[in-house]
């Protein structure tokens, strides 16, 4: 597709429910990132894939969060047993090259807005 596509755009989950958020990166992009943006805050890094390899998951807040990219394209962020503090916008981003540097643009999707009630 032309840009990074995320689904669902909006999700309301009951506390304790599992959710899965999908990301379709720009075709051919090697790198894929997940960020979490709480209300009034900047995006915070969750995890990074280079092709199908998850090279950095240091930002995942707990073991309830799990991300995968099995074929090196589409990625899924799964949150188990959701809690109210998980309410945020989950942003997916992709970039062409394997690493981020000043000249390598990261393209963000529109985000998946998760509300846990």
């Amino acid at each position: 597709g032309a840009g990074v596509s995320q689904s669902p755009r909006y999700k309301v989950a009951k506390r304790g429910q599992d959710v899965a958020l999908r990301c379709d990166p720009i075709s051919g992009h090697v790198s894929l990132f997940w960020y979490q943006q709480a209300l009034g805050q900047g995006p915070e890094f969750l995890t990074y894939f280079q092709n199908e390899a998850q090279l950095d998951k240091s930002g995942l807040p707990s073991d309830r969060f799990f991300a995968e990219r099995p074929e090196g394209s589409v990625s899924t962020l799964k949150i188990q047993r959701t809690q109210q503090e998980d309410s945020a916008v989950y942003l997916c981003a992709s970039s062409l090259a394997g690493q981020v540097y000043a000249g390598n643009t990261i393209y963000f999707g529109e985000g998946s807005w998760l509300t846990v009630v």
Binding site: V4, S31, G40, Q41, G42, D56, L91, V100, A102, G103
Partner: protein, 114 residues
């Protein structure tokens, strides 16, 4: 520990004037910096970046200045246009952060007054 700080949550500027958005950072290991623009209900859009070996980068109406000794960068928009009204995020990264992790500030909401 907020390593990238945008101390002004909002800024209003008259159309045609210069908009100056500021960003401070605490970690001297960052070696590149980026500005992103975000409209409501959309993802952040890359605007301009600068490597730590430079002190200025210009792209059309947008210029980013980097003062490494002060750990400060700023984004200048001139002349400001109504379409520039958005939230602007400063972000930083570098080889010491795996070259894949960006640290964002909390954003500044810019409003251009017609």
């Amino acid at each position: 520990d907020q390593q990238v700080k945008q101390n002004s949550p909002s800024l209003s500027v008259q159309e045609g004037r210069i908009s100056i958005l500021n960003c401070d950072y605490t970690n001297s290991m960052f070696d590149y910096f980026l500005w992103y623009k975000k409209y409501p209900a959309e993802g952040p859009t890359f605007l301009i970046s600068i490597s730590s070996i430079k002190d200025k980068n210009e792209d059309g109406r947008f210029t980013v200045f980097l003062n490494k000794s002060a750990k400060h960068l700023s984004l200048h928009i001139v002349p400001s246009q109504p379409g520039d009204s958005a939230v602007y995020f400063c972000a930083a990264g570098g080889a010491n952060f795996g070259n894949e992790k960006l640290t964002f500030g909390t954003g500044t909401r810019l409003t251009i007054i017609p």
